[in-house]
């Protein structure tokens, strides 16, 4: 089946049918900014599938009742490769009870490992983490008088990503900071499934504005109208007095 057929067949299908099931027990998810830009519906589909012992590559671990927190609740995760998991109590409990393994990566190293994996680069050298626990047991090398540590590329069986807009070729456009880890995640797996807020025909996205070319996307689902994106930390400022009186600022 070529990619176009897969997309046109699956574009309007239910999310549980968009995932290759049974899933291999090694799976990757795209996230970057807490709940911002996460493939929330596809996470729910993985939860529904019941697949267990997952290894998940994700910058964060979600919060207790949203994002990857949903898969922690159901104990479907064996290992997380993340940079920051501070917002999740379920995670803390399972980790302290020895039920969940964690491999902490510096955020930039994690992003680059995924980018490298998708680009066919098995390893690279970085200054990040030299002289810290992160570098323990890893090869180091000097370049131009500076010490660098070797980090490996990451490649997964499955990636799930969230995009603002996609066309039926699989071309994706992300929106604002919801881009975060999504472009690298899309490139770094055998099977990438995208959830998109808006599906359009080829040509409706300016080719110059495409962030992820469709070659990386194998399947796609469209989110229902009115799909709600959650905000993790709502922070606002006061309107000036004039604005409060009805004047737009």
């Amino acid at each position: 089946m070529n990619a176009i057929q897969a997309l046109s067949q699956l574009s309007y299908g239910p999310p549980e049918r968009a995932l290759p099931i049974p899933l291999a027990p090694a799976c990757r998810k795209a996230r970057g900014g807490g709940l911002c830009g996460i493939p929330s519906v596809l996470i729910e589909a993985i939860r529904e599938s019941g697949v267990r012992d997952l290894t998940i590559v994700s910058n964060n671990a979600g919060i207790d009742d949203a994002g990857l927190g949903l898969l922690l609740q159901t104990r479907q995760v064996r290992k997380m490769i993340s940079s920051y998991v501070g917002e999740n109590r379920t995670f803390a409990e399972q980790f302290l009870a020895g039920e969940l393994e964690i491999e902490f990566n510096p955020q930039g190293t994690l992003a680059e490992r995924i980018r490298a994996g998708g680009a066919g680069i098995p390893a690279f050298f970085t200054r990040t983490g030299v002289g810290t626990e992160v570098a323990k047991g890893k090869e180091t090398r000097e370049f131009d008088g500076e010490t660098y540590v070797m980090e490996r590329g990451l490649f997964a069986d499955l990636s799930i990503v969230h995009a603002w807009m996609g066309d039926t070729e699989g071309n994706l456009v992300y929106r604002k900071t919801a881009r975060n880890f999504n472009p690298m995640m899309a490139s770094a797996s055998r099977m990438t499934v995208a959830q998109v807020e808006h599906l359009v025909k080829p040509g409706e996205i300016n080719p110059d504005h495409i962030h992820t070319p469709g070659i990386f996307i194998k399947r796609m689902i469209v989110l229902p109208p009115g799909f709600e994106k959650r905000i993790e930390q709502r922070t606002v400022r006061k309107r000036p007095a004039a604005a409060a009186a009805g004047e737009e600022v």
Binding site: T128, T177, I231, T235
Partner: protein, 217 residues
Amino acid sequence: MPWTRDEMAARAARELQDGFYVNLGIGIPTLVANHVPAGMNVQLQSENGMLGLGPFPYQGEEDPDLINAGKQTITELPTSSYFSSADSFGMIRGGHIDLSILGALQVAQNGDLANWMIPGKMVKGMGGAMDLVAGVKRVVVLMEHTAGGKPKLLKACTLPLTGARVVDLVITELAVFEIARKGDPRVTLIELAPGVTEAELREKTEAEYAVALRNVA
């Protein structure tokens, strides 16, 4: 009298220069954004993937797709740009960011920084801190001088490191220290908060330091 958190942030803002690209950590460092001098062009970077951070949105204008590295809702500016986290850390690791201002649990007199983990307690992860201190040209630490009465500016860090020999300047509520981290490491006390004596500071500081106080307006 020791500096308030806001005064500490104002002191850190004096490290800014026109045209700088700057990354601010969570906590007191975030307050530095309120002290950018009028007329100075400073672009704030958020490591999740944005340059040109705007202020918090007005109520009702929050955008779930627009957050800073602390996951707070923010706004964009005419100068803003968005990019992936890989590009974001590329500009950090690649030395394109001029200044990083962040908090610390401990700083050592050779510039070692510990700010991500306390063994035995729940570990949250380092986020982007290790990348920032390894890649940004100049690293400024804003921290309380002591924790539970114990010094945080030490001869050597006892907590797991975030980076080795990475800190250039330490600002606390009591004083400002410069760290020469290349060659023979050396700490120099350059400013004291009003009313804070050198004797008091010695008592609350484990690191060895020289004194070269500058007149501060």
